[in-house]
Amino acid sequence: MSKELGWKKLPMGGIIEEAGNASSYETGTWRSFKPVFHPEICIQCLFCWIYCPDGAIIVEDSKVKGINFFHCKGCGICSRECPTKVKSITMEQEI
């Protein structure tokens, strides 16, 4: 991480050497609403995962395991697109 380095230490050409290092940047603080995952209702359609703009749905072995709150901005697309009659992801006010 080259954060706050002076010109003598920054890599040349303005490059960012570590691909995907934005993952260490917290956007979870942006949330006003928080998705709550109810695994017992989930049918594992993975729609929440494919539609999440922030890649914040945690999937292991092709199964939704929960939400990455470090990145989740709380847009609610996951809940909106959840097809189960009783939503497997519901939105709650962030405290």
Partner: protein, 393 residues
């Protein structure tokens, strides 16, 4: 091994490009650069180079394409003139900021309007602050030599900056001269293989280049660029010396002509240096202690060398083949005055804007500049510091 051939400036640069055999060349036609492209297209069509030649739909895309190819570690070249150069302007900064060692030949031509296809230096002078190294050529030989040296300078691992070499439109580009050229193999051996540390095609080591800088990093990145171009003097000189060992033609940042005992001197770049040398020879026969300084490298600006070379003259005149509207004189004049600021008993300095839009400048006109200087050196007061040479009133 070398041979003596008769070539136009465009063909000389085209020949140098063939011998360099770059991985990628992208270009768009514009007069007077066109024949350079034709020459190179022949080499491609006849299998004399391995180059992938991209015939893009604009100069903007030409520079964009070599930015892309250079980011992939491909040795990349292009060529343009005038309005084409102006269209690239935005990307000149990108190429330099991302440290892509692109080599570009610019066949100098006036900018519109009115549209004019002939020589002046308004195009490359307009790109002087973009972060590129700029090397001007006096004749076809130099255009050829500079093209080859440019690759070695650009790709030096401590530099990695784009380099533009220039040649005066028509005056050099379309005039046949005899010159010495190297064997292609010798050129390739001398420049060596280009194996950069980073490439976008290195999929196992991905990185991002050209990201967004906010107020917290942009300045540091610019400061870094300022440092690297300022560090390139030594590399340019070293490459010029090495090239001298190879060819017997050594190159420096500036060239001095008859300056040892000279009291008055012209400072000039490009083909007019040749005309000025002729004028100096004639003036010497007349007993006038005339000399000349040719500025070969304009970026980085060799202020130390100029300060040393110019401090002993009584009067110097700077010839600018470019008009810098609203400025106090042409760009070369301004930078030379700045370089001399603070030295004890500096020479008197006058400026002559000349040759715009290909207006011919001959020996007589150059001589008139020296006569003006001579009178000033003998005590005549300077009438005008900024003069226009060869324009009708």
């Amino acid at each position: 091994m070398s041979s003596i051939v008769a070539l136009t400036g465009n063909d000389a640069v085209g020949t140098a490009m063939k011998q360099i055999n770059p991985d990628v060349v992208a270009a768009f036609p514009i007069t007077p650069q066109t024949e350079l492209m034709h020459k190179f297209a022949d080499f491609v069509a006849n299998g004399e180079v391995d180059t992938e030649f991209v015939l893009v739909e604009s100069e903007h895309s030409a520079m964009s394409a070599v930015i892309g190819s250079s980011a992939c570690g491909a040795r990349s070249m292009t060529a343009t003139s005038s309005c084409g150069f102006a269209l690239m302007w935005e990307l000149l900064y990108v190429a330099a900021s991302c440290r892509f060692p692109i080599v570009m030949a610019v066949v100098n031509r006036a900018l519109s309007a009115n549209i004019n296809i002939h020589c002046d230096h308004s195009d490359t002078m307009g790109g002087r602050d973009a972060g590129w190294i700029q090397i001007y050529s006096e004749n076809s030989q130099e255009a050829y030599d500079n093209t080859i040296q440019a690759v070695k300078i650009a790709e030096n691992p401590s530099i990695l900056l784009p380099v533009m070499i220039t040649l005066d439109g028509f005056i050099i580009s379309h005039t046949t001269e005899t010159l010495n050229i190297l064997d292609g193999k010798d050129v390739r051996d001398w420049i060596g293989e280009y194996n950069p540390k980073r490439s976008l095609l290195d999929i196992k080591n991905p990185f991002t280049i050209g990201p967004l800088d906010l107020q917290d990093y942009y300045f540091e990145h610019k400061r870094q660029q300022a440092e690297v171009i300022n560090n390139s003097y030594d590399v340019i000189v070293e490459v010029g010396k090495e090239y001298g060992k190879l060819t017997g033609r050594e190159y420096d940042l500036i060239e001095k002509y008859m300056t040892e005992d000279a009291e008055i001197a012209v400072i000039v770049l490009g083909s007019t240096a040749g005309t000025t040398k002729e004028a100096v020879d004639i003036l010497r026969e007349e007993g006038i202690k005339a000399g000349m300084i040719k500025l070969r490298v304009f970026r980085p600006f060799p202020y130390k060398e100029l300060r040393e070379a110019l401090s002993n003259f009584k009067v110097i005149s700077v010839l600018d083949r470019c008009i810098s509207f609203g400025a106090y004189g042409g760009p070369v004049f301004n930078e030379i005055k700045a370089a001399l600021y603070g030295i004890s008993s500096p020479p008197e300095i006058t400026n002559y804007i000349y040759g715009l839009g290909g207006r011919d400048v001959g020996i007589e006109e150059i001589k008139s500049v020296y006569y003006d200087m001579k009178r000033i050196s003998e005590g005549e007061k300077v009438k005008d510091y900024i003069n226009y040479l060869g324009v009708r009133e």
